[in-house]
Symmetry: C2
Subunit: 405 residues, 2 copies
Amino acid sequence: MALIVQKYGGTSVGDVDRIKNVAERVQETYEAGNEVVVVVSARSGVTNDLISRAKALNSTPDEREMDRLLTAGEQETIALTTMALHSLGIPAVSRTGSEAGILTDPNHTRARIKEISGGDLKEQLAAGKVVILAGFQGHSESGEVTTLGRGGSDLSAIAIAAALKADLCQIFTDVDGVYTADPRVVSKAKKLQYISYEEMLELASSGSKVMQNRAVEFAQKYNVNFEVRSSFNRNPGTIVKEEVKSMEDVVVSGVALDNKQAKVVVSNLPDQPGAAATLFQSLANADVSVDMIVQNIGREGKANMTFTVARDDVVRAEKAVQSAFSDVGTGTEFESSEIAIVSIVGVGMRTHSGVAATLFDALANTGINIQLVSTSEIKISVGIHPESAEDATRLIHSAFGLDTV
Amino acid sequence: MALIVQKYGGTSVGDVDRIKNVAERVQETYEAGNEVVVVVSARSGVTNDLISRAKALNSTPDEREMDRLLTAGEQETIALTTMALHSLGIPAVSRTGSEAGILTDPNHTRARIKEISGGDLKEQLAAGKVVILAGFQGHSESGEVTTLGRGGSDLSAIAIAAALKADLCQIFTDVDGVYTADPRVVSKAKKLQYISYEEMLELASSGSKVMQNRAVEFAQKYNVNFEVRSSFNRNPGTIVKEEVKSMEDVVVSGVALDNKQAKVVVSNLPDQPGAAATLFQSLANADVSVDMIVQNIGREGKANMTFTVARDDVVRAEKAVQSAFSDVGTGTEFESSEIAIVSIVGVGMRTHSGVAATLFDALANTGINIQLVSTSEIKISVGIHPESAEDATRLIHSAFGLDTV
């Protein structure tokens, strides 16, 4: 008998038929003799509906009231999922985040988990019950309902798995697992059997988002192995875990494409302390998230700084740069353009030389110009013209032998 | 400065614009220097949607889970209404039934209120805040969320008004108040300025349902005066309160029509102890609600029993009668037909003779045959053919001088 935590996302519980499907999968797991905790999200669309109603009434809704509003979504799905299990004859009981003792800090809409007591979950499981737990939510010391931020149900699942010392944690979603590249772009993309926490994090930040990054970080911190798999078929998914020896044979695990970026090139920035700080403080004040940053020293002690932002943010970014310029002196110029970021990710890179060379070579051979390069320990990202982005992704996928993994 | 409890029903908070309208009315009341507690229902339609989802998953959903499910509806509206007030610059805070200390028995889906502590409502009001309270819900001693049954938000409002010793309780709904008859049937129907608790209860049980009967009973028990009025206009409503001297001048306060009834006539029922009990136990087992019951002794010690049920229940009622017959002996027969019930209600009847005679006379003069009569202290109901129902209602309205009140 194992203790299994299963998490089903919004699309997996999107309507009555899908909730029935979830109940049947839970039934199988339960009837195979396991203890099962099921974490569910709000039905897909519900959270967005609630947010749009809130925004229609108040452009800056109170965060406590926002948490109260949004947690109604999971409250609905835990009750419905529990009822669906009952109708299959499975004893089940619903629990809110607060009932499961998920204690958070008091920061509404973006609370961080402080401690998980588990409430009476162990007793309910011991009594033979399936526990249906509301994802996304917890409670503060003063007893207020809090939420863990968008996608927080993944974190709920990982965290409750850690707290209960679960044998297995399964994240059911609408994709089969983690692929070497987006199968819509690279037809030869393969599903990975394993991936390390670090690679999963780098892939997510490079445009291949399968689940919330905070959940992966939490899993890494508490060493919770988990599987990402589809709730719509029976295919095995991808196991996410600590890097293991055998993984090192594979240099690159995947290729990620983010074709929704823009680059902003700032030239003739004074090469002096504080200039960059002024620039990025201005961007932060405008609530613009900056992804990659690259800086070179140019002529006459002036620096060239290139950074990328989400394409939707580019107008705000330009205004922020303009306003920063009044502080950093004259002669500074900027221009922005659309860019695609292609990244390769793999823990094998650490110990293999020539990875960057292989990448650059593959692109050069087909005449794709590299506008931007950024590297981390297990990732290399290149910025290229959006028109070449999908070709480049396929080329790179082949160049690192991923077509035949 | 007065403490005012306002209750807004599902249609009054049915969409974002209507919630804004509610917020503006609350603002007026607050800015006039009053302390305000606002009780809200779920948006109209939401509760039915949730119930239909539940029924699609489980024909007999667990009642604890049902309460958890349905209370999500009010959780949404308290948060949205609070946000709407914030955007008008009014300090407001939402409270669940549990936070307001509405303690109930543990009977999920139909809990009865045991005690109301009020939680921190007095402190919030003293601090200048409007409190937005979730209607329909409370909590049991073990901390489980419970609900007060359909229409329970009326009860929440009356009960919190009693607990806080409010100066005024206003039930905002989609009608202007309580009328002498349904204005859609009787064009000369007038809105009543006052009505007694008892009349309100009798009218509701006679087809003129404005609000939940339990709420009216609760108001009567704790002597909470309240006003029923529309949230869509500024017309004064109807004050519901203890009977006062001046009310006695009016013999009949209103005429109610229930044109959704059926009568079942059971003839040759053995006139012996237990026969009626067997019959009505069988109906209760089939979950058929019986409204009027009339019995006459017929020939040879056999009784004739007539009762009315909702027209939708007539097939189940017939089956229940049939099954009871196997126990009460042979020779018993029954037939059912559609019937309309017209009732006159008025505390003045108690001290005025000739009320029944006036009623029967009005019907006889126009050739309307009376199939059934039932009386209580402040009500007389007659069963007539559904075709004559609306004419009869208008005739009776005139006969008792209500056209010119």
